[in-house]
């Protein structure tokens, strides 16, 4: 594995009574697309801000590109914050030039045009930002974050508010960044996107890291304790059946989680006794399921 681009060791940050990040360790390898999942208020944005040196940890080390000192943001890093913000009166090209020059890119015009074309925004280059739709403004904001050819792009919820077509466009743009050798760290609520796109992902919950690894690896770690079924009578209540710990209903099929050591064969027999079984699969849990197990309302206070 390549030298880590980001290395965090025992990092804590407190705001008043609220411990936003609690003893976080993190290692992001170079050239990877690294997903960052977790519910709202779990410390994702605080972590991103510490990597960007917008705020500073109370305890621990944040090393970016081998450097753990410094106050000002690194020009090799690009940042798309969760809360979008653009100068509304500026023209798109002018705004992107401003952001590129602020990051030290000297002749940004060709790069700006290339990105605008890639994202289908070329004809809007000389329009003011306030004339853009929300989705277009978000793509402009993305360009502002990556136009200076960063080696590390930190994207907070890059897909939120985009339609499926534009989500695809943005996903391709992120792959393009990785193709150029950049490391992409992005946070999302969209587990399917994370599962498809990430080389590696991490889940943070209540300021602590609760998951870290490649998606397949994580699913395996949570074991083959998930049963996916499609039944003749979809309205059947399955929660009382032998060995069943939890039921998730997805309309077309149901996902059951078994207690440790419960026998799937016993469950199958019970189901056949109740209704017709169209589909029965012993599967790895989806990321979504893992996410809900940890962060769902029923999750214990100390999930780890």
């Amino acid at each position: 594995m390549a030298e880590p681009v980001i290395l965090m060791e025992g990092v804590s940050k407190r705001f008043g009574d609220h411990l936003a990040v609690d003893a976080l360790d993190l290692e992001v390898p170079g050239g990877a697309i690294y997903g960052f999942i977790g519910p709202n208020g779990s410390g994702k944005t605080t972590t991103a801000r510490m990597i960007l040196r917008i705020i500073h940890p109370d305890r621990g080390r944040v090393v970016v590109f081998g450097r753990d000192q410094g106050r000002a943001a690194d020009d090799r890093v690009g940042y798309l914050p969760e809360e979008r913000g653009l100068y509304r009166k500026m023209r798109v090209r002018e705004l992107l030039r401003f952001h590129a020059e602020l990051k030290g890119l000297r002749r940004p015009d060709a790069e700006i045009l290339a990105w605008l074309e890639r994202l289908g925004l070329a004809s809007w280059a000389d329009r003011p930002v306030e004339a853009l739709s929300k989705g277009m403004a978000q793509k402009v904001q993305f360009v502002a974050a990556v136009v200076h050819r960063p080696q590390l792009a930190i994207l907070d919820e890059p897909f939120s508010g985009l339609d499926p077509v534009n989500q695809g466009v943005l996903k391709d743009a992120m792959l393009e960044l990785r193709r150029r050798g950049a490391t992409v760290l992005f946070s999302t609520h969209d587990m399917a996107a994370a599962e498809r796109l990430c080389d590696r992902l991490m889940m943070i919950y209540r300021g602590r890291k609760v998951l870290d690894g490649a998606p397949a690896e994580l699913r395996q770690r949570y074991g083959r304790d998930t049963i996916r079924v499609r039944l003749g009578d979809p309205r059947l209540d399955l929660s009382g059946l032998p060995g069943v710990a939890a039921v998730a209903d997805y309309a077309a099929y149901k996902e059951l989680r078994l207690h440790d050591g419960a026998d799937p064969q016993q469950l199958l027999r019970a189901l056949i006794g109740l209704t017709r079984v169209d589909h029965f699969e012993i599967a790895e849990p989806s990321l979504h399921d893992i996410f809900l197990r940890i962060a769902g309302p029923a999750a214990p206070a100390d999930a780890a």
Binding site: R49, L52, I54, I55, G70, R71, A72, A73, D75, V77, G78, Y79, P81, E83, R84, G85, L86, Y87, R88, K89, M90, F98, H99, E101, L102, K103, G104, Q141, A144, A145, I154
Partner: protein, 443 residues
């Protein structure tokens, strides 16, 4: 971190902020407004003066004493003839007055009401009642008074003319009654000429030079004009600074910027942009003033040393006030919340507007000297003193500039700390005590 990288980022921020400030329509409007107001008011006055010529005014006079009416009639006729004799020039601006004789015996409240109605209708300009014992001056009361009834009392040329003419006639008749010969009275009542004149100086050719009256009057108004010019140049950019920061915070632009630039550099870049914008305004104003001064031959009022001081003071003033406004903008959530914090700041900045007459009257006095060395108001008071008199010792503007620059530095550092904390803090607006705590927070 390399220093030139900091400087480059500051420059990029400053350029954007400068363009964003200067390009707005409201800025352009405000810059053009002041010269337009000055030119406009001159033009309107000239136009009004010309227009006034065609407006003749009729006044009805009820003379209970019977002693003045002939004289007033004659004076009005003479005034009209004088105006007609001089068809060009200033005299054209005078309106013709007609005195109509009213019968005092008819005068009752009904007639007074009727006359008032005719005045309101624009048919008459005024009516006058002259008391029966006007020449005796005793006893005090309606019989020894002249009552002037009109809609406009304060700024009426007719009233001034009537008052002056009637007084002259009354004095003449009283002196005559006291047994003084008429030629002696004429001589005694001849007007006394009192003219304001400037100081003398010796020119390069050894000739004695006099300041002409127009220049002397202009010199008296120059400090006030300068005060408003400075005030405008500073507030035109320092105040939008507050709104700009609030917008950056509300629109979450600040966080994007902080991903690229350190908070202190961001603030410094913004302040430099505002300084440049203010100096742009100042240059526009100075060019306009220079043009006017040249046109009227008053170029002497714009001494190069004074201009140099003014430029330096505007620069530090924008740094000082701009830093305060930027810090307030970063601390609050919206414009409404900023009002509480703005009030004390604005009071300090406006203070010179309340004491300017004192400063102009006694530019070397204790109050003027003391105020001009008090950093928060130095940038406005000191140039005013320099404009009034050349006798301010050179160390005073120099010391004032140093003290203000030092204060600006302290305020910028404190504001930078408030900015750093405030720009990412949402929720309840901080109290003054919390602001002070932020300002003292290091690292």
């Amino acid at each position: 971190m390399h220093r030139d990288r900091h400087l480059r980022k500051i420059a990029v921020i400053a350029r954007r902020e400068y363009l964003a400030t200067v390009r707005t329509r409201s800025f352009l409007l405000a810059v053009l407004l002041m010269p337009a107001l000055i030119v406009g008011s001159v033009a309107v006055q000239t136009w009004l003066a010309r227009r006034g010529a065609s407006e003749d005014k009729t006044v009805v006079v009820f003379d209970h004493s019977g002693a003045l009416i002939d004289g007033l009639e004659a004076a009005a006729a003479a005034r009209g003839a004088e105006g007609a004799a001089a068809p060009d020039g200033d005299e054209r601006g005078r309106s013709r007055f007609t005195v109509v004789r009213g019968d005092p015996a008819d005068l009752d409240d009904e007639l007074r009401l009727a006359l008032s109605a005719r005045i309101r209708g624009g048919e008459l300009a005024a009516f006058v009642e002259i008391g029966a014992r006007i020449l005796e001056a005793e006893p005090p009361g309606p019989s020894t008074m002249i009552a002037y009834h009109a809609e406009s009392l304060a700024f009426s040329e007719l009233r001034r003319w009537l008052e002056q003419t009637a007084r002259q006639r009354v004095l003449q008749r009283r002196l005559l009654a006291a047994g003084i010969a008429e030629p002696a009275i004429e001589r005694a009542l001849a007007p006394v000429v009192f003219e304001g004149s400037g100081l003398l100086s010796r020119g390069a050719d050894g000739q004695l030079q006099r300041t002409d009256a127009a220049q002397a009057i202009a010199a008296e108004f120059a400090p006030l004009a300068l005060l408003f010019l400075l005030f405008n140049a500073i507030l035109l950019t320092a105040q939008p600074a507050l709104q700009a920061v609030i917008e950056e915070k509300q629109q979450r632009i600040a966080e994007v910027l902080l991903g690229s630039v350190a908070p202190f550099d961001l603030m410094l870049g913004k302040l430099l942009g505002y300084v440049l914008a203010s100096l742009t305004v100042l240059v526009v104003y100075l060019l306009a003033a220079g043009g006017l001064a040249q046109h009227y031959g008053l170029l002497g009022l714009l001494a190069p040393a004074l201009i140099a001081w003014v430029v330096a003071y505007v620069a530090v003033a924008v740094l000082l006030y701009g830093a305060i406004f930027v810090a307030i903008g970063a601390a609050v959530n919206d414009l409404k919340e900023s009002q509480n914090l703005m009030l004390p700041a604005m009071l300090v900045i406006m203070a010179p507007l309340f004491v300017w007459s004192e400063v102009v009257a006694e530019p070397l006095g204790q109050l003027a000297t003391g105020l001009s060395l008090f950093p928060m108001v130095t940038p406005l008071i000191m140039p005013m003193r320099l404009a009034v008199t050349g006798a301010v010792p050179m160390w005073q503007p120099a010391l004032g500039l140093m003290l203000t620059a030092l204060t600006a530095l302290l305020v910028v550092v404190a504001a930078g700390r408030i900015f750093r904390v405030g720009i990412l803090a949402y929720g309840k607006a901080p109290t003054l005590r919390e602001l002070a705590r932020w300002a003292l927070l290091k690292g």
